[in-house]
Amino acid sequence: MGIAIYILTFALLLIGLYGVIAKRNVIKIILGVLIIDYAVNMLLVLIGYRRDGVAPIVSADEDVKKWAAASVDPLPQAMVLTSIVIGLGLAALMVAMAIRLYQKYGTFDMNEIRRLKG
């Protein structure tokens, strides 16, 4: 069980990569990039997992040492928060650029958006 879920996460990364490389529609390329971002986020959260762990939130009347021995790793969760925000900014920028590209070129097909050559 342990290794299978990591393999699935890498499979998700490869699916996103396939979307970026092989698709012609600009929106599908954007979705591929977002899938890559989410796959990496999932990998980050997974490496912090501890079997039968509790969420890393300490309430007021809890023994800190016992909590520390049972909780999952909080640092990857902090990293994932930052990574999600970065992905959000990128998504907004990508979508805005896609709209502008449609205004200028009239199409979403990547093969037609190819004026720069050489």
């Binding site: 990364l13 990569l17 970026v20 600009v26 390329i29 990039v33 890559i36 971002d37 990496v40 990998l43 980050l44 490496i47 640092l75 990857p76 990293m79 930052t82 990574s83 970065i86 900014g89 990128l90 920028l93 990508m94 650029m97 896609a98 502008r100 590209l101 200028k104 070129y105 958006i113 190819r114 004026r115 720069l116 050489g118």
Partner: protein, 527 residues
Amino acid sequence: MDALVPLLVVVPLATAFAVVALANLPGLARGKSEGGDRLAGAAEPSRHRALSLLVCAAVLANLIISLVLLRADVGKIYVGGWTPIKALGIELVCDGLAKLMVVIINLVALVSIIFSWSYMQRFTKVWLFEALFLLMTGAMNGVVLAGDLFNMYVFLEIAAISSYALVAFGCEAEELEAAFKYLILGTVGSAFILVGVTILYALTGHLNMAKVHELLPVVGQTSPAVLLAAAALLGGLALKAAMVPFHAWLPDAHPSAPAPISAMLSGVLIKASGVYALARIVFNVLGPSSEYAAILSVLGVVSMVVGMFLALGQQDFKRLLAYSSISQAGYIVLAFGVAAHLLVTGGDRSIAALCVFGGLFHLFNHAAFKSLLFLSSGSIEQQAGTRMLKEMGGLTRRMPVTSFCCRIGALSIAGVPPFNGFFSKLIIIIALALAGQLILAGIAAGVAVGTLLMYVKVQRYALEGEPTGAAISAREAPVMMCVALVLLAVVCVAAGLALLPLRDMVFGPAEDVLLGSAGNLTGGVTP
């Protein structure tokens, strides 16, 4: 003195937010049209001049701080005052290499912002440009100062996202296409960097660079997991550094950006976020090994040769400069690769130091003369209205200052004595030959000859000859643009003449950091 180091990041960020706030204070922007859109402050030139002055002052302050830090005795800065018991906190590391990179970044940023005082008047929403520019500068400072892997990744992303928006700033069709391609490729590269950081964290349990370096031999430096992390990291960073075969975004993105942004991207961004991060990871985090040395050398050699060949046939001035950036970045990575190889095989340490010195000096020189060339191409584009080499001509008489500085830049990059490019290329070739890599030294010399050919072509078409087309009516560029060009030309000449003192004062500590003789990211200061 420790308090100055975080200011290098805080000052550009604070000024960026101040520019956004001050440019948008309600009731002060006139010229509102229906629908809520307006040319913000199009009727307020004095306020925008004041904001531009504020931005120049901020970047100048940053440069002064970085020059002060050059000789200061700072090492690790613990953010938040968290004592280094278990290396759990965030650290800012200001060792020799970081001091050098910070000076380079702030110098090129200052010259670019002086240039954009006049150049950006053709655009609306200049405050947006300045805010993004400051964000990019602050983030690049953060990349070189970061002492742990995840902070470096976050600052890398901030710099990259601002550069995507800046490349698309003009919102013409080709700029948007170039920016979109750059965005997609850059994001995929960053995702792979994060995968590498994740795997390293999973293996060692720490994000701090020094701590990971300590713990990595326990895991096994060539275990499959570490190799996977290294492959992901090196792949992503090679994309940021525009190494062949990950270079496809650069020839479209750099010419399409406005000229000061091209200067920043080509001069600093691919160095600070690409080559610097590669050197840090390979030398200071993963530790040099024969596989990584081989990868760096191959990437460097292929980039050098392919960049040169693709640049020779270009008719567009800025596209030629972009391809030549790939080639020169290949020089630097090759020098680092051969130095790593020497460290692994137990070769002569002083030759490895010479290789690293050559690479770092070429990094500094390339930032100076490539920015000079891109800025002068911006001047020419604004005054003569074209970027194609065949449509220029005779600019020596029409635009004397610009063409003089452009000639200095072209001679520097071609490797003509006594400019700085000659010395750095000579040092790299000699160091390669001394290290026993005679084939690589020969290839490096050949690429130098090719670079000379391509810049002779540039000079012949752009500067000499008879003016054709729009170049007939070209006049000299505005004062601020010429000031920026002259500053960079002075740096090019001075760096060549002041070679030996520079090596003792500035490049020596940087070499020690990479080669590990001062002890891993402390620059000689005991933690």
